[in-house]
């Protein structure tokens, strides 16, 4: 039976994805970045690593058909279906309290790093190193002059991705809480963060 979880705007959640099962992540309202982390259930020191993935796939943007590798270069997930037109990123570090302070925010701000830590703490795991995430539904591009740009998020309502686990995994999805107005650095929709739906089956 598929298990469906609604991830409230700006929060995160961890789900078990056994080997051979699929995880579908949907942005019902569209334009909502989904920071995605994956750990081997039998060894939390082995996590999904974009830097090891793109050396093998030779693409810094994940594409349907690519396999996400761990920091030990082993297959963790296949990207089996892309219902978001290829609008995905693997370059942006997970936002954290320091990121919001960099932009002048005062006081606590929710972040994808904190969402990961809260979701894993609920399972009894303390996360000391925030892995580099895969950011589904996130619109970045590297220009000819090596500039990293983040134009407005064009992901349509109902867009989704489907991944198939190649090992028993714990997967964490965070609805990115980024809601600051930073010129030239758009992450989510103008109206702010929105919920994500995660289905495992």
């Amino acid at each position: 039976m598929p298990q469906t979880v609604t991830i409230a705007a700006a929060t995160g959640h961890a789900v078990d994805v056994p080997k051979g099962h699929r995880i579908r992540i949907t942005s019902p309202a569209g334009s909502q970045a989904a920071d995605f982390f994956a750990y081997r259930a039998d060894n939390l020191n082995e996590w999904l690593s974009p830097m090891h993935t793109w050396v093998a796939s030779r693409s810094v943007r994940p594409r349907a058909g690519d396999t996400f590798l761990s920091c030990m270069r082993r297959p963790l997930l296949d990207f089996v279906e892309d219902g978001a037109g290829g609008i995905h990123d693997m370059m942006i570090a997970a936002c954290d309290q320091a990121r919001y302070e960099q932009f002048g925010h005062k006081g606590h701000h929710r972040s994808c790093s904190e969402n990961l830590q809260i979701a894993m703490r609920a399972r009894g795991h303390e996360i000391a190193v925030i892995p580099q995430p895969v950011n589904f539904f996130t619109n970045t591009r590297v220009e000819e002059n090596h500039k990293l740009v983040s134009p407005p998020n064009p992901v349509a309502p109902g867009s989704y991705v489907v991944l198939e686990a190649k090992a028993d995994l714990i997967c964490i999805v965070s609805s990115c809480p980024f809601d600051l107005k930073v010129p030239g650095w758009t992450i989510n929709a103008d109206r702010g963060p929105s919920e994500l739906i995660v289905a495992v089956g």
């Binding site: 693409s59 810094v60 943007r61 370059m91 942006i92 580099q132 090596h146």
Partner: protein, 199 residues
């Protein structure tokens, strides 16, 4: 001034106090220098390319850029670039698994070089951080394709960085010497030594 020769395919660690400069030279050219930096007072805080480029908004390090730690604090400023911008921050440090996937067992690697020199100082690293790869010729195309081209870095080319905190810096002469079509890292002559100066 302290000068350390990094033998071909090996690594060396040096201490770089705040305000001092580290210069990395490729005497013969074409030699990738994998670079890692840790705060001396907390080796759990290391240089992070992914936190750096969201601030500099350039995936290639450029003279004037400041490299940030994974806590987004300044680690080093890139003060001199005598290698014409031929630097990378995308390639994960090579490791034993990388070479095994390419069919070679027991090959030296930048990850092993880093682990060895930090272990010699009494530090056990929980992870191999993403390095800055000086003298490494990659390009990202607009469609996201990642390519590594023949290494054009000239003999004697160097970079110089100013420490913004007391640091332990590790430089690895990348041992990559395999013939992997469309994936050039070092020169055709194979790995060569690097020279590190702290001034």
């Amino acid at each position: 001034m302290t000068e350390v020769v990094v033998p071909a395919s090996h690594g060396r660690a040096v201490e770089v106090p705040a305000g001092r400069y580290i210069r990395i030279v490729t005497p013969q050219g074409h030699q990738a220098a994998d670079f890692f930096a840790f705060r001396a007072d907390d080796p759990g805080e290391w240089l992070s390319p992914m936190h750096t480029w969201v601030t500099t908004r350039s995936i290639r390090p450029r003279k004037g850029d400041v490299f940030l730690s994974r806590y987004r604090r300044p680690m080093l400023e890139f003060t001199v670039d005598k290698a014409d911008g031929i630097h990378d921050m995308f390639l994960a440090a090579c490791d034993a698994m990388r070479y095994e996937l390419l069919g070679v067992k027991g090959h030296r690697s930048c990850a092993e070089n880093l682990g060895e020199v930090m272990h010699a100082r009494g530090h056990k690293l929980p992870v191999t951080p993403q390095p800055v790869n000086f003298f490494t010729n990659t390009k990202i195309h607009e469609d996201g394709a990642l390519r590594a081209f023949a290494n054009p870095v000239k003999p004697g080319a160097y970079v110089e960085l100013e420490a913004k905190a007391d640091l332990i810096c590790v430089v690895s002469s990348c041992p990559f010497d395999l013939n992997s079509p469309g994936w050039a890292i070092n020169g055709d002559v194979g790995p060569t030594e690097l020279v590190v100066e702290v001034r």
